[in-house]
Amino acid sequence: MVKEIERAGIPVVHMCTVTPISMTVGANRIVPTIAIPHPLGNPALSPEEEKALRRKLVERALEALTTEVEDQTIFEV
């Protein structure tokens, strides 16, 4: 899906836990997430901490989306 959307000329950020698979399939902008059962959250945290975590991840993704890349790039959080 990432590749097809990019083929249409729209940049994509792939937020995922297993970044090696994302690299293998050819995503260009990758943001690593928390865990496979809960990529964008963490049930071990309090609701306040989790909200902050989610915001951080989304902001990092938006930053990645507006960053020029030459090659496949992982945007560490």
């Binding site: 836990t17 297993v18 970044t19 090696p20 698979i21 293998t24 690593p32 928390i34 865990a35 496979i36 059962p37």
Partner: protein
């Protein structure tokens, strides 16, 4: 470490007040098995009742949903007991003598958590895809206690323990029986092995354990393997139940406890040990859901392969999807240490077999054995008798809405069949 297995052939199971093995028939009292299972407090707390049945090869019987399959064994000489850290006290197993009730298994079945998986057909086309259709199965169907809905994991634990206890009780019946056949297995210490087999390549088995949680767990000496670092086992430890299964979802490529006890990779490496290779040890490593864990565990696999000065390693996967990355990380890192690898996996290549088989890949993973394509569609005929329930056939992995047809037949992917595409290579879909 040396272990002798004494095989007691079981060709039939009969319910009886007296528990004994006579002329290859197991006579067993289900009430006594039940009483032994209920000696455990967790079983007492979460299992309302058990019912028992026997399923024999060739019968028109379907067992579903299957939780675990366990071969009864008993330790007759040497330290420890079967299933150490779970049923027996923690003690290093894998030496001395163990009796095996061969040709039979304990199968635990019944509703576990929401939906639950696994089909064993004792006859028809489905029987060809599961090794357990060839065994005499002592089937234990568990019924949850009231209020289990809020304690599903406790209930899953209770049924897991109940199955192991049933197998332990039955194994004990074979304690004083003279085995029909015995076989010895021995691996050596590092230095000893190099001195004895100076010219043979040093090979280990990198055994990946499913540890994703939520019914995808494996236990080693009673420890939840997702909380472990990659480590070493003597191969014979697995024959005494050092590793037990806590997973049954996508039943085709999950290792039951029976698979762990009868691991075909261990068996094949022992057959070649001292002849074409020096079987050094097993390296067990997990498949967790955090990337950092995947990186750490595969780093350790590669590090241990190097420390052991291996020439080659066989890597077997358990499950599919993100564990494909654990598989590829292990393989790539081990190869980069100069150790040759062969991997055993299975495929999710779509119903037509035309899609990419694994979610991850690397040019260094260039020697692959496949257990088959789990997406292949199969039609299973109606059976005269169902042990368990057909309630979940439409919602299990590999099933779909309408899988269970009005005439009682089932259309589903091979995924639904317990052990169909086993990644230890236990089955015969492709290479064996």
């Amino acid at each position: 470490m040396k272990l002798e297995l004494g095989y007691i052939q079981i060709n039939d199971i009969q319910f009886s007040k007296e528990c004994k093995v006579e002329n290859s028939t197991l006579f067993v009292d289900p009430d006594a098995v039940k009483a032994f299972m209920y000696e455990d407090d967790d079983v007492k707390a979460w299992v309302k009742d058990f019912s028992f049945d026997v399923a024999k090869p060739g019968e028109s019987v379907r067992i579903t949903p299957v939780k675990d399959v366990i071969e009864p064994r008993v330790k007759v000489e040497g330290p420890g007991g079967v299933f150490p850290g779970v049923i027996s006290k923690v003690d290093t197993v894998g030496s001395g003598k163990t009796h095996v009730l061969r040709g039979m298994a304990v199968v635990t079945a019944g509703k576990i958590v929401g939906f639950q998986e696994g089909i064993i057909d004792m006859s028809g086309p489905g029987a060809d895809y599961t090794p357990f259709s060839k065994l005499n199965n002592f089937v234990v169907v568990a019924e949850p206690a009231e209020g289990y809905q809020d304690h599903k994991h406790e209930y899953e634990h209770a049924v897991r323990i109940a199955g192991l206890r049933a197998a332990t009780f039955i194994g004990e019946i074979g304690r004083n029986v003279t085995p029909d056949e015995t076989q010895e297995f021995e691996t050596l210490g590092i230095k000893e092995g190099i001195e004895k087999y100076p010219d043979l390549p040093r090979v280990a088995y990198v055994h990946m354990l499913q540890t994703q949680g939520l019914l995808h767990d494996t236990y080693v000496y009673g420890v939840d393997a997702k909380r472990t670092l990659t480590t070493i086992l003597n191969p014979t430890e697995t024959m005494d139940g050092a590793i037990i299964s806590g997973n049954c979802v996508s039943a085709c490529d999950k290792n039951t406890t029976y698979h762990h006890l009868n691991n075909p990779v261990v068996k094949a490496l022992f057959a070649a040990h001292g002849k074409t290779l020096n079987y050094v040890c097993n390296i067990i490593t997990n498949e967790n859901v955090y990337l950092a864990d995947k990186q750490r565990s595969s780093d350790w696999s590669a590090k241990l392969c190097r420390l052991l000065d291996l020439d080659g390693a066989i890597v077997s996967q358990e499950g599919f999807g993100n564990p494909d990355t654990d598989l590829i990380m292990n393989t790539k890192k081990i190869e980069l240490q100069g150790v040759k690898t062969t991997i055993i996996t299975d495929e999710y290549a779509g119903q037509d077999g035309k899609s990419q088989s694994l979610a991850d890949a690397d040019p260094l993973a260039d020697a692959v054995v496949t257990g088959g394509n789990a997406n292949e569609v199969i039609i299973l005929p109606k059976m005269d008798k169902v042990i368990g329930t057909l309630d979940y056939v439409d919602v299990i992995a590999g099933g779909h809405a309408g899988s269970l047809r009005p005439d009682g037949t089932i259309e589903a992917e091979l995924q639904v069949i317990t052990g169909a595409t086993n990644e230890m290579g236990f089955n015969c879909l492709s290479a064996r």
